[in-house]
Symmetry: D2
Subunit: 361 residues, 4 copies
């Protein structure tokens, strides 16, 4: 069933496989009059691009995006924005055993079970390569948000845990995020990650991570109850990212431990007439609708299932096999999930912003 689109008012549709000639995306529902060019999108792709440090896959992709429709004389026209990226480093090698084996923890088995066949080249459609188009579409969403809300808004993401090691939140510095290969806001912890991940990579293993994404400067009122609540849409968005196993808003699972009076974000009259919240346990969302505070989402990424370490599995014929994946892979896919999470945040918020234009008559 058609399922490669996300969003309702602003809806994007992606296509393309890891080792096909190109990947692409259609962003539909973009209002007319939004300034947009490739340079508005490319920086986000560059952050997600592989091969930029020893800690990510060595596949080399320029990831140069082309806008092929929907823009005229520097602004959007209201028609769908078509985006294309050529695949340039898909290796047409012999795929060997991968074609017949199911990697434990990977989608190999489930695609075969669902469809009766699969494109095994580089993981086909199940590859994280698809997330490049999310990042591109997210660039369009950011332009919508900026144009509508002004430059004070921002959406940023950070890696806040790798393996069992969490960052020191007291040391949080957004500027640090761009200064280490982990998108980590805590420089000291980033240095520890560097050593730890180097060791893991050398062992042919992999490790999980937790990502936090924050949207600042959003108005109160975003989110449509009951089944397109802001938090519900965010949960769907983040959980659809490869390898994500958990999503939480604000205090998230910690909220289960709290008593009501500790969880309730008290309110005071603000100087500007707007409410002044004294805390943000809610992560900026109440009843599925934004409060105007920072919107805070975290998601957990499992360790990559492509391993040099041998595991037990079966092949297409149902026979027992030993599996080792020799190809290029990310020892911690959570790192490159940071720009992807930001993009999904932008896409959800732009969709709900536009959808909400008619909440009052």
């Amino acid at each position: 069933m058609a399922s490669n689109s996300f969003g309702r008012h602003l809806r994007f549709t992606t296509f393309g496989e890891s080792h096909g000639p190109a990947i692409g995306c259609v962003v539909d529902g973009v209002p007319a009059g939004v300034p947009l060019c490739e340079a508005d999108i490319q920086p986000y792709l560059d952050r997600r691009r592989p091969g930029q440090s020893k800690h990510t896959t060595q596949r080399q992709e320029a990831d140069q995006v082309r806008i092929v429709s929907g823009v005229f004389e520097g602004v959007t026209t209201g028609t769908p924005v078509g985006l294309l990226i050529d695949n340039t480093d898909q290796r047409s090698k012999d795929y060997g055993e991968i074609a017949r084996q199911f990697r434990p923890g990977h989608a190999d088995f489930t695609y075969q079970a669902k469809y009766g066949l699969r494109d095994y080249r580089g993981g086909g459609r199940s590859s994280a390569r698809e997330t490049a188009m999310r990042v591109a579409a997210g660039g369009v969403a950011r332009q919508i948000l900026k144009t509508a809300l002004g430059d004070q808004m921002w959406i940023r993401g950070a890696l806040v845990q790798m393996g069992a090691r969490k960052i020191n939140r007291a040391a949080w510095d957004w500027d640090q995020v761009e200064r280490n290969p982990f998108f980590c806001p805590d420089a000291e912890t980033a240095a520890l990650y560097d050593a730890e991940l180097s060791a893991i990579r050398k062992e042919g293993s992999s490790i999980g991570a937790v990502i936090e994404v924050v949207a600042h400067g959003m108005p109160a009122g975003l989110g449509d109850p009951i089944y397109n609540k802001l938090d519900s849409d965010l949960a769907a968005a983040m959980m659809s990212i490869n390898a994500v196993k958990g999503v939480e808003i604000g205090d998230g699972f910690e909220a289960a431990c709290l008593r009501g009076e500790d969880n309730a974000d008290e309110i005071q009259p603000g100087n500007d007439g707007a409410p002044l919240f004294l805390s943000n346990h809610a992560g900026g969302i109440l009843g599925g609708i934004s409060t105007g505070q920072d919107i805070v989402v975290r998601f957990a990424v499992k360790p990559t299932s492509s391993l040099l370490i041998e595991t037990n599995s079966i092949n297409v014929a149902g026979e027992a096999v030993k599996v080792r994946t020799k190809g290029r892979h990310d020892p911690c896919v959570g790192i490159r999930a940071v720009p992807v999470g930001e993009a999904m945040m932008a896409l959800v918020l732009a969709d709900l912003l536009l959808a909400g234009r008619a909440s009052k008559i």
Copy 2:
């Protein structure tokens, strides 16, 4: 924007407010030929019904469901199943300060911000009363699943944490779930919850919880990549339940701590030709598609924001006020969220089962 529907092939739409005359639901996309009567649905509503123990709200609702369409001679006809429940204990009292105050942690403020007005009677549409219709719709979904998959399938939920106290998973006994007012599978911990929640209620406070829902007997192949992955749909479904702040699949946030070889669920050839998984860290989902193992979801519920304990807030005019909520409420909304979570699991699975009927030509 229209947002009170969930699902694509099987889509249900709810309507109704906490203190209106009735609540209702339309379940559209039910195949013809599914046995269905009120008695197939009512037991699930009875489990969610308020007023059954001292630990839930004292509002008295019979929650008798009526099927008004879509069934003929005991089976569904392929036309939409209309379900209605009359509200019988909505108190037409003076709502007093609630009409003008924003309870901290509650949707009062955000509904007002979004719509410029709100139905403040019992929380209006933002009340958990709406979840009764999810449970009713879930009853229909269960009949679809049972008819398609046979009686060996089941979907069950349990409360696995209240406040900071987690159950002893070694003591898990599904039979216990129906024997205590907490839907707790661990009898000893349930006894502790009883004492703890009594104290919390007397103090006029509330507490959060974590719920686990398991679906057994599901085939491999459910879930549509990329944006209607099984886990993505489940995340949206669970996060749309009132007060939920986090969702995780299988090992969830713990997966971030694991190394690849520990997270990978190894596979052996099974006796029946089907794969035999040696563990289930993935919670039955890989690449957004079911593996055939048990599907395992957990979600965190924050403490109720209606408190007898006074908190600081503002009113509609933006003035500082002290808020205390004297009405009936659940000191731990997580308890009654158990049957709601089960229902959402059933609805997602039935939708994807039907949607998947055409994944192979």
Copy 3:
């Protein structure tokens, strides 16, 4: 597959069968702040109500609508508007041969072919009874349009042909529409219809008709290219009405006969700065978007297939049978299709009006 909803931003979902206990509708996506009460809807239902003249079915239904949700203190709240109408004259008689026979020209055979069973009581879901809920939903849509656009807008329908006899368009008088049982704007032709339809009814036969619906006072810019064009949505809306076999916009099929210079509606600068169109061959729609002129739609209704005159058919067992339908029926279903067509026009326009709120940034 779920298919009982119409619209995207404003979406309504109907349920209920001809001889079930009730029919109902959920109107989702109504903005907050629209004045709405039963009296805003009932007049439209009263126009569609059966049994008002000898020319329509003698089934007696009060068709009293109840609003059960979505309205508080006289205005909509942004939550779904639930509407219910009890069926009061469904006869629980012996349905006899109807249960097993397929009436030629009727949905009996196709429902059986599709679903393997059917609710044969009064036509079940395929009965025009469902259209009562469209008219009710249309009443909500009219309130949205009036509130947004002001009282100068109107939507009116008229029967412009019955059998081969067309009205005299030069004699068109909207006031006449409410003064004869045919919704005919030409009094003289209405008198002829009266005689003709009486004869047809006595013979146990039926006849087709053509309906025209006009929307006045709509702004330019309604309609979303490419696949939710205003004309495309109107075509879907009208063709979904029972017994409709053709839909046209403006000059419609006559446009095929025209040369470009005769079809092109020339434009002059208007006194108010708005364009002044010198003709309206286009029916108020160009490129799928409204021009600001009157929006003009016509649709053809086939003759009722329930006949006292005997026809050849088969039964569920595939055996040859002779079919005569003795029950109550409309000899010209086109008459009561007039308010239904108006309602669908209102619903499409309100949906696109709201959807279009975000076409410019």
Copy 4:
């Protein structure tokens, strides 16, 4: 609002403008295992391609389609099929007055009114160039239908009227359709069209047409009541094609003239157990569901609004202007609408075929 997609289970999304670098399409929901290559699609594009006779626009486009995703080793994989066609003959000339004038009968004015700006190059998105992607997507839909239903099914279209002149239906010969530049099934009338259209073209004028599309070999049971009826979906599909002003099914508007006993398609037991219909006034659809007979749709196309003959209009500043369009255009856009109508028929049928896979449990 996102509106460049069509279909539910099988959903395609198009993008691209007349004079942009490329046009494209994503076909989502294609089941795995359908044989598909460019050669399955190209012949349909070749039929729609411009510049093949003096009677269509002289724009030269190779219209070579590339499949960039969703196919592996000759069959579909269940992932979205991405299709691209480069624009090669978009002239980067000075667009002159077109940039500021509104052609009467054209979408120039309405796009400007809706979006506040427009891509005026060759009509931008409102150009019939977009229909190339419908034809390409239709080629995919045909492969689905053939694989599911076998080779005895076919979908064919024909031009049955140009201007006021209708074909002689007694002379209908499908083979003739490919032998004249009008897709006309009646050779004698085609010869008359040739002379007439040559004269019209020389005068700088244009003319309308009527197209008929027939689907043969479809099973009974296609179509989802109430709002995705087969006829409702077909009406939306055909009316979304550029310049279409009317759609009818079976007898269409003529059905309004009929009496019930003349319109009812009587049924006899067939030799093979299937029902044998004695006529097909219904055009193969009853109650919105296919009967198993030929599905017959006709649609009316207005004359092209790009004319060498001068007409009165206004420009973007609201000033009176005289408009003449000197560029390349089709004097009868109805001709090339034939393969487009066939494609939309195929897309609707494939969507409903897949959607209907779960109509019975």
